[in-house]
Amino acid sequence: MAKTIQEINEKIRQGKAVVLTAEEVIGVVQAKGVKKAAQEVDVVTTGTFAPMCSSGAYFNMGHSNPRIKMGGGRVTLNEVPIYAGFAAVDLFLGATALAEDDPRNKVFPGKFAYGGGHVIEELVAGKDVRLTAAAYVTDCYPRRTLDTMVRLEDMNEAVLFNMRNAYQNYNVAVNLSDRVLYTYMGVLQPRMRNANYCTAGQLSPLLNDPLYRTVGVGTRIFLGGGQGLVVSHGTQHNPGVVRTAQGVPKRGAGTLAVMGDLKNMSSLWLRGASFTGYGVTLTVGLGIPIPILDEEILEFTAVRDADILAPVVDYSEAYPNCQTEVLAEVTVAQLKSGEITVGQKKVVTAGLSSYARAREIALILKRWIETGSFLLTEPVAFLPGADSGYVFKPLKERPWESPQASHSRFPPF
């Protein structure tokens, strides 16, 4: 019964494709069985809406008259520094960037009220943003400074480029110490009084295609309210972790690098976020359609919260010191119930990833496909898989050694 992506696209064009969300498909498979459901269902849509720190955006501002060489100079957007180490007016803004005079954690815990993620949200919302630049002068770029309001629609290119999104599974964070911890997993109360998790579970894109059988380079996706593409596996991609018998990773595993035209996105699906005592980030809406090419792929998409195990990790000792100790494994179903048990202790849970919004994304993507405004793409390459040997390595530190005086560019006096 194997189908091809072209056949599914033909059905989409005719308005005949059967599309279900990753939540809806669970019941259909239970009711009809894998064989029958695989014949009927063409596409399963997924979604996730969560903080993703390795998000960013690049912009081409257009040239001022006279020209200024922002490249190699110092540039800010609403006082948040934006990287300018490119050609004259190409800039890259990272989600976690902070204004130079932001107090950060000087008075602990810092508020981190505004940063790169918020600038991206404001630009997408159509708001004016202040661009300042201090540059060095060249014969071809005579201007030294710039201070102007800019907005998204006036820029040439404005592209969301996220080097790591859509983490396949993630830690559940707890705190075994005696003091409050302020982390990227939220505020963790001492002696394990809460457990914070961050996954869309049964709706999560890569948990519905655990072995990367359909998602690859060139896959068209829902990104930030618009359409984007998977451009590569993401940074820290780590497909070789332990998995369940059904192939679902039990630790943080695969990741995606994604991009898309910021001008077609919406601030509803790109939100600046402030983590007390930690920093600023961008909460990104992302959804991936999974073509049901065969029965195995359908079975993968029928994964339930109860089948997904996440590791409980101590963020007072184990995480900061790169220890791999896992206190317990809990299911996403347990996490979503509001309480898990670690050892003998019942611990209250709280999420960072919005399940309600993930469901909305999967439904929007479903509607796009049903109405023919979104066609599936054939990946041009697949992600490094579970057996690829591809691993996420720690940093090997090697002490810096002073060059010998005779070799130094700066000889001693």
Partner: protein, 136 residues
């Protein structure tokens, strides 16, 4: 018996007054202190639930206002801005009264104003500034 949750703001010169005692003794009110912060030479703040007959509640309120204590109803002080909330549920763990809670079927967060004691624990936890307190 009618109940009212209020936020009392004390100017620094009033913090040595036994206000709670007088509310109980002179005005016959049940005073349940939900939260208090009183320090020398600073504005003090108390979140209290007052119960008593309507007339006594009103008399108690007048007594406080005449002394110079700011009396605000709690409902006006705490605002959950639904349009800023993404329903991540991060606020659920610290909320001691479950004023911030989630409907487990839809996984959407809701705010029950009646249960809020303005402890402010959620303020640091919400990454989207969805909860605001006017006296922060």
């Amino acid at each position: 018996m009618p109940k009212k949750k209020v936020v009392l703001n004390f100017p620094p010169h009033l913090i040595d007054q036994p206000m709670t005692y007088r509310l109980i003794q002179e005005h016959g009110l049940v005073v349940n202190i939900l939260r208090a912060r009183i320090n020398p030479n600073e504005w003090g703040r108390m979140v209290v639930e007052l119960s008593g007959p309507k007339a006594k509640l009103e008399a108690g309120r007048r007594f406080l206002v005449e002394l110079g204590v700011g009396v605000e109803s709690l409902a006006q002080e705490v605002r959950w801005q639904e349009e800023r909330c993404i329903h991540c549920t991060a606020c659920l763990a610290p909320c001691p009264t479950h004023a911030l809670n989630v409907d487990r079927a839809s996984m959407t967060v809701f705010f029950d104003r009646e249960k809020c004691i303005a402890c402010e624990l959620c303020l640091r936890v919400c990454p989207y500034q969805a909860i605001e307190m006017s006296f922060e």
